[in-house]
Each structure stands twice: as structure tokens, then as C-alpha cells.
């Protein structure tokens, strides 16, 4: 790292602490853009190999070549945080990015979802993911690429289907309770059993207790398959659990994106504003970059059909700080995720100031702005984020012959699953489950539909 930048980084950190940021130490590293591109695709610097990442990577390459995307930084929460800056950024950009990273570090240290996820998935996700990748490479050596790929096809297809309400090292379902012993005979029970005019009670059934697995519909498909799959080998279970562990890390990142990016943008703007040690020219250039990052539309457009999370988050945080003070804002930062953040703090007034609107896209491609109230706007923003962005598919039953019965909760999703894709996913799962796999959902008319593999 150039000495100049190193010096600024030290002073920016000091200023951040002074302004009340709390975080685990941050390791900064300068990396080439190609590295950033891979991080953007894989989500982690070293991650398990899978051909589907290759497809995303080529998209990213094409987009990058066409100049549509630029990645400034990426930071992985943990202790220490690992922050990567692009080595061909200007020093202005990297000053801004440093302050931005501190905002992220503060967020991940304090936000309860992040705190919980780190306590669960560990403080070294970068190294852990690299270790998973290494273990999978070993599995390839032993079992061969085809078999490992089949496991990853299934596990990564179910990547979003976890349940963070249970701990990451989740115990098995509790064994069914034994029926209570009949109470010892005494005077009362004797008289109770022989009430005048009533039949004597039948003796309780004493056969084996009916156990149903799962005891309740199970959302954590990765865990369930790893734990209850009738014919998985150990290394296959291991891969499922590795994917699950990474999902535990990704989930809060996904659920807090607007808040987190907004928070970091708020802090880079504030830190740079208060950093009197930066030359004024550097500050100006950095603020130019800032306004590029948090602007709502592309350069030549007046209307965007998606909301820039940096822009939206930044503006909500400015408003929250103005209304509740910085301590109030910090409390909000700790306790909310995007769902609560949008519902509670994106007011009608702010939505109007920001020109937010709701549109309807029809199948034929027509996009029309609709009359909408605040609630509809909130739902349009956070709708795609429910349930980690995936349809709710639950394990319904594990039959005695090993058949896995999945059920899609179409009521809460509002409509059924797309049958061709669902069928393919079932085929992935079936290869690993090695017993019949059944999925119930509804078709376009709302009639129950049963897919089998």
C-alpha cells in the first residue's frame, strides 16, 4: 500500500473511532480488479468450484468490459475484518472507500443479525470458505469430479433454503416423548375411573410411538438432507453443511443490504466531511465519487426501474440521524434489518422527496406506473427479499421407505412454483437423496400439482 494512502487510512480510522464507530480491526489489502470481479461473482475470495459460478463470471466480465459495473471495495466481516481495495483506484477513491469500509465494519460489529451470524458461522468466513473449497477439492480427488458436482448441483440449488432461527450446529429432532406412566392407583383415581353411569376408560395404547419426521414442516432443506438423507456418504453430508455454513454468512448480508450500504455511505460522507487533514482537492474528488455511488439513476437516465440501495439507504439514514440523533440512529442500526428499516423509516414524505414509485410490469413487457400507497411501496421494495429471495419450500414428510416429501407453501408465496425448474431441482436432489423425491405445489390455476423425481 502506498505510504500516502497508508497514512490517510490511519488517520481516517482514528477519526472514525472518535466519531463513535466500533469495530473489530480491519485488514486492508490492495488487489487487482480481476480479483474484485471474482469476489463479486463468488461472494467470497476463495469459494468452492462450481460451473454455475463460471456462467456468472462471464456475465460479470462482459459487463465489466462494457463499462457497466465497477467495484470499489469489498469487506468481509469478521475478526479481523478483511477489506479489499482495488489497486487501480485513485487515492481519492480509496480514501472514500476506506471510510466506507469502516462504516461496514461498524455495522457488522453491531447489527444483531450480523452479530448472531458471526457467532454462529465464525469470525473467519474468508478462511472457512477457503477451507471448504479445499475439502471439496479433496473430495474431487477421491470421488471424482462428476460425483462432487452432482452434490454441489443439489446443495447450491438449495443454497437459500436454510433456517437461521436454529443454531448452525443444530441438534437432531428430540426423540418422541414416552407416554406418561399411568398414575399409581389411589383412592381418587379409582373413583374417577369408576364414575357412576360411565364406561371404564380404555387402557392406553402401549405399542411403539408413532414418530413423524420432521415433527414440524422443516425449512432448512440443506440441514435436513445432510442429517436425514438415507444414503448420503459422509463427504456428501459435509458438502451440504459447508454450503449451509456459507449461507448462514450470506443471509444477513442479503437481509441488510439497504441498511448496510446506506450506513457505510452515510459514514464515508461524514468522515470525509470532517477529515480536515485531507487536502481540499482530494476531498472534492472523493465527494464526486460519492455522488456517483449514491446517485439513483444511470448517467444518462431520468428514471430507474430499480432502486439503488446505496442511494435509498443513504437518504433514509440521513433522515433518521436528523430525526433521532446519532444515538437513535445507532440503536436503529443495531436492531433492524431491511424489512423493519424500510417499513419503519421510509416515510411517505421521504418517498415523495426521492420520487419513488411503484410500477407494474406485464408479461408483454409493458411497464406502467401505478397509483400506490406507502404500504405498497414498502412491499415493492422488500418483496424480493423475503425468505432469502427464495420460494418457501418445506420438508413435509420423510416416509418409511425413504421418500422425501416437499411441500411448497404457495399460500404465503401467492402462487405456485415454475414446474420445469422445480422438476430439475428435484432431479438434482434425487441424485443425492437416492430415494423418491416428491414436491407438492400449485399450477397456474391454483390446482394442486405433484412433481416427482
Amino acid at each position: 500500500m502506498p505510504a500516502k494512502l497508508q497514512e490517510y487510512v490511519t488517520r481516517i480510522e482514528a477519526l472514525g473511532k472518535q466519531l463513535g464507530l466500533e469495530y473489530y480491526p480491519v485488514d486492508f489489502e490492495l488487489v487487482p480488479p480481476s480479483f474484485m470481479m471474482e469476489v463479486a461473482v463468488y461472494g467470497l475470495p476463495v469459494r468452492m468450484p462450481h460451473w454455475s459460478f463460471g456462467v456468472r463470471w462471464i456475465y460479470q466480465m462482459v459487463q465489466h468490459k462494457m463499462g457497466h459495473s465497477r467495484i470499489f471495495e469489498v469487506v468481509f466481516p469478521g475478526n479481523p475484518n478483511r477489506a479489499y481495495l482495488v489497486n487501480n483506484n485513485t487515492i481519492e477513491e480509496n480514501c472514500l472507500v476506506t471510510a466506507h469500509v469502516l462504516g461496514h465494519a461498524d455495522f457488522s460489529h453491531n447489527n444483531l443479525l450480523f452479530v448472531n451470524s458471526q457467532r454462529q458461522a465464525g469470525y473467519h468466513i474468508v478462511e472457512q470458505a477457503a477451507a471448504h473449497a479445499h475439502r471439496i477439492d479433496e473430495a474431487v480427488e477421491i470421488a471424482g469430479q462428476r460425483r462432487v458436482e452432482a452434490v454441489l448441483d443439489a446443495a447450491l440449488a438449495l443454497e437459500q433454503h436454510i433456517d437461521i432461527h436454529y443454531p448452525i450446529n443444530r441438534p437432531d429432532y428430540p426423540p418422541p416423548k414416552k407416554p406418561a406412566e399411568p398414575p399409581p392407583p389411589d383412592e381418587f383415581h379409582h373413583r374417577f375411573a369408576h364414575l357412576p353411569g360411565s364406561e371404564p376408560p380404555k387402557p392406553r395404547a402401549t405399542g411403539p410411538i408413532e414418530t413423524h419426521i420432521p415433527p414440524h414442516p422443516e425449512a432448512d432443506l440443506l440441514w435436513f438432507i445432510a442429517r436425514y438423507g438415507p444414503a448420503l456418504e459422509d463427504w456428501e453430508r459435509d458438502i451440504f453443511l459447508a454450503v449451509r455454513e456459507e449461507s448462514f454468512y450470506f443471509q444477513p448480508v442479503f437481509n441488510c443490504q439497504i441498511m448496510n450500504e446506506g450506513w457505510a455511505s452515510y459514514w464515508h460522507a461524514r468522515i470525509l466531511r470532517e477529515a480536515d487533514f485531507l487536502p481540499s482537492e482530494l476531498y472534492l474528488n472523493a465527494m464526486k465519487t460519492h455522488s456517483d455511488v449514491v446517485r439513483p439513476y444511470g448517467t444518462d437516465k431520468q428514471i430507474a426501474l430499480a432502486i439503488n440501495p446505496y442511494h435509498l439507504g443513504f437518504n433514509i439514514w440521513e433522515r433518521v440521524v436528523a430525526d433521532y440523533g446519532i444515538d437513535g440512529a445507532r440503536r436503529v442500526m443495531k436492531e433492524e434489518d431491511d424489512f423493519g428499516f424500510i417499513r419503519n423509516y421510509l416515510s411517505a414524505e421521504l418517498a415523495q422527496d426521492l420520487d419513488l414509485f411503484v410500477y407494474e410490469a406485464k408479461r408483454d413487457g409493458e411497464v406502467r406506473v401505478t397509483e400506490s400507497n406507502l404500504h405498497e411501496l414498502h412491499e415493492a421494495i422488500i418483496g424480493p427479499k423475503y425468505n432469502f429471495g427464495a420460494p418457501r419450500v418445506l420438508v413435509d414428510d420423510l416416509r418409511a421407505d425413504g421418500t422425501l416429501v416437499l411441500r411448497h407453501d404457495h399460500n404465503s408465496d401467492g402462487r405456485g412454483l415454475e414446474p420445469q425448474r422445480a422438476q430439475r431441482v428435484l432431479e438434482y436432489v434425487h441424485k443425492i437423496w437416492r430415494r423418491p423425491v416428491i414436491l407438492y405445489t400449485v399450477d397456474a390455476r391454483g390446482e394442486e400439482e405433484c412433481l416427482r423425481a
Binding site: D27, F28, E38, H50, W51, D153, L356, Y359, G365, R415
Partner: protein, 388 residues
């Protein structure tokens, strides 16, 4: 201070420069596509226009990115989203496009919808095909005088031209000698040198000539030509696999016959009737002028819709019978848009007669793309049997 300090030396060579995970996974994706394409290959090639650029010896096949499937909700009739900008309720931001193209509008990042062109080497395709269709390899005609003298490598000597130094043998000799002589031995001496030697031997010739005869009379429409062209192409590729040097002769005919260059050959359109004998005569002329049967393996393919003038029957038959002994194999492809062919046409009957007389020949009816592969397969299998 960070990963790079612990994992890399001072001068670059950082750990992440050593490999690109993105490239690795992208290549794996392409490999999977190749496997998938491989399975559907005969279909794909029959339909793609492989012959438009025969000099490249590659085939371009459009393929889609593979999609890693996940559970997804049914496409709703209307999808709501949030946007930003100065608009009024009721504004139409993007007009509908009528029917179809639906998914494009709602999700621009539809990965499944993007396709790209993959290039396959014709040689690779042939290898796959030979494996897939379990085709036998062609053999040069045996028992004939199709032999030439050639130098081949045989044995080693201590003297020879430098270019024929066999390094492996030389080192082996040196190792053996040093093992005997012990510590003080010189690494390599002149005595260790081994040179490959050449001797003259009779070799079956590896030259081949392929005659392509095409009926271009007005009854041969574009569909027929395309079938003929595809059949010719793959037959030729198969022959190329076996022989070092393959020469080609292209003859088109109506009631007259002309020789053409490859590029023009398939563009020729003729008028009027059909006399097969003209082309067969032409082939005889060219064969006797340029291709000495003792030096060339000769193949002949004739594509026609089967019509021939009645009065030409005897001449055609005579010409075929004259031609047959010169050829390793004669193939007749009857192309037409009609189904239910039984090779009962004029030309079909001619070739059947010839086959009954024990000449090495075969007939194939091709009325659509799907018939091409069975025809190719039949040709190579039959040819191998004849040669054996």
C-alpha cells in the same frame, strides 16, 4: 498485515494471481456444454450449415448458457416493482410488445435466455461420431497393387544423420555405461549415440481420390442439393480421417457433365434433362487420365434424385460397369423431398444391379436430414466389410 504478506513473497506473485477460479469454472461449464452437445451431435450438425466454410474445418453450433436451476415462482401476470424518477401514476415507461418476448420485460437478467456460439473442430466431431456410431475405420483396399515404396524407420545404429539422433536411446546407453564404469565416468561418449535407421518398404498407399457426382438437372431442388452436400461433406471427412492425402473431383451433370472446383460445385444450377452416363463417362476419363489405380484408393459418390432418361440406361450401365473395378467403393445417395423411397428409380436400379454383380457399392435413400447419419453409417460399415 494481511493475507498477501503471509502468503506471498515480497515481489508480487500473490496467491490470487496464481489461478483464476472464474476461468476454471467457466471452462468447466463449457466442458459440460460440449458433453451435452456431443450427445445431440448428429442432429445438430445435420441442421447447421457446416459446409458454408469448409476451409475452416470447424462447425459453429449455437448453444445456450447452462442454467443452474433453482426453485422459482411462476411468472405472474403482472409483477410489481419499485422505481425512482419523476413520473405520474398511469405513465407507461415501456410499451408492451404484443405477444411473446414476455420474460424479457420482467427480468432482464434471465440467464437461461442467452446463447453464444461454440466452435467445434470437425476432427473432434468425427472422433465423437466414430465413437458414438461405432463406425469402423476405413481400410485401404487389400490384395491390390495399391502399394508404393516408402522409407520407414526401422532399427538403430551408432552412426547416422544428426537429425535422426534418438535421444532417449542415447541416454539409456549412457546410463548403462556409467553404471558399469562407476563414479568417474564421462556423461556421454560418441559410443552412446544411437541413430534411427530408415529402410525401404512396400507400403499400402495412403493416397485417395474421391469423385463426387451431382445431378444438377432442374428436378434437383435446393432441398435435394443441401442433402447431397451434407452427405458428401461427411463422407469426405470420414475418408480424410484415414488417408494422408485425399484429392477430390467434383463433377456436375445434366445431359452433359462438367468438372468444377469445390466452391462452385454446389452453386451450379443446370437446365433440362438427365443423363447419368455423361457424368460417369467423365469420371472414367478423369480417373484414367490422372489417377493411376495402383497409386490411389478411389471412391465415388453419386447424388441424384434418381431420374434418368430411359434411352441412357444402357450407356449408364456400361459406364458404371467400367468404372466399378477401378473403385474401392461406389456410393449412391438418392436425395429427394418425397418419402417412401425404395430406390426403385432408374439410377437406383442401376446401382442395385451393380451390387448384385458383386461390385463394392451401396445405395442410400435420403429424404431429410435425419436420414443422413444412417446413410453415412451404412456407407462406412459396408465399406469396411467390402474391404475386409
Amino acid at each position: 498485515m494481511s493475507l498477501s504478506d503471509t502468503l506471498a513473497g515480497e515481489h508480487g506473485n500473490r496467491w490470487y494471481d496464481l489461478f483464476s477460479r472464474g476461468t476454471r469454472d467457466w471452462l468447466r461449464h463449457n466442458e459440460k456444454i460440449r458433453e451435452a452437445v456431443n450427445k445431440a451431435l448428429p442432429d445438430l450438425i445435420a441442421h447447421s450449415d457446416v459446409l458454408s466454410r469448409p476451409e475452416d474445418r470447424t462447425v459453429q453450433v449455437p448453444v445456450r448458457f447452462m442454467e443452474h436451476y433453482r426453485f422459482r415462482l411462476l411468472n405472474p401476470q403482472q409483477q410489481k416493482g419499485a422505481g425512482q424518477g419523476k413520473v405520474q401514476p398511469g405513465d407507461v415507461l415501456r410499451p408492451g410488445q404484443g405477444r411473446g418476448e414476455g420474460a424479457q420485460g420482467s427480468g432482464g437478467n434471465e440467464e437461461g435466455g442467452v446463447s453464444f456460439v461454440m466452435e467445434f473442430k470437425v476432427d473432434d466431431i468425427l472422433d465423437w461420431l466414430w465413437e458414438e456410431l461405432q463406425l469402423p475405420n476405413l481400410k485401404p483396399r487389400e490384395g491390390s497393387q495399391v502399394e508404393i515404396e516408402d522409407y520407414i524407420r526401422e532399427g538403430w545404429d551408432k552412426k547416422g544423420a544428426r537429425s535422426r539422433l534418438d535421444r532417449r536411446r542415447t541416454i539409456k546407453q549412457a546410463v548403462k555405461r556409467r553404471a558399469v564404469q562407476g563414479e568417474s565416468a564421462v556423461p556421454i561418449t560418441n559410443d552412446d549415440l544411437r541413430f534411427r535407421q530408415l529402410v525401404k518398404r512396400q507400403q499400402p498407399t495412403t493416397n485417395a481420390v474421391v469423385f463426387f457426382l451431382l445431378d444438377v438437372s432442374s428436378s434437383m431442388d435446393d432441398h435435394c442439393r443441401k442433402l447431397a452436400k451434407t452427405f458428401f461433406f461427411w463422407a469426405l471427412q470420414g475418408i480424410r480421417r484415414q488417408f494422408v492425402r485425399v484429392e477430390t473431383v467434383f463433377i456436375a451433370h445434366t445431359i452433359e457433365a462438367w468438372e468444377f472446383q469445390e466452391e462452385e460445385f454446389f452453386k451450379v444450377h443446370g437446365e433440362g434433362g438427365t443423363q447419368s452416363s455423361s457424368a460417369l463417362q467423365k469420371a472414367i476419363e478423369i480417373a484414367s487420365e490422372r489417377y493411376d489405380p495402383s497409386r490411389y484408393n478411389s471412391y465415388l459418390f453419386y447424388a441424384s434424385d434418381g431420374d434418368n432418361f430411359m434411352e441412357d440406361r444402357h450407356r449408364a450401365r456400361a459406364a458404371l460397369e467400367a468404372l466399378a473395378p477401378r473403385m474401392n467403393f461406389l456410393g449412391y445417395a438418392e436425395v429427394s423431398g418425397r418419402h417412401h423411397q425404395r430406390l426403385n428409380t432408374e439410377v437406383g436400379v442401376l446401382f442395385r444391379r451393380l451390387q448384385e454383380q458383386g461390385a463394392p457399392c451401396g445405395s442410400y435413400a435420403i429424404s431429410n436430414e435425419a436420414d443422413i447419419w444412417p446413410a453415412i453409417k451404412a456407407f462406412f460399415t459396408q465399406q469396411a466389410e467390402e474391404a475386409a
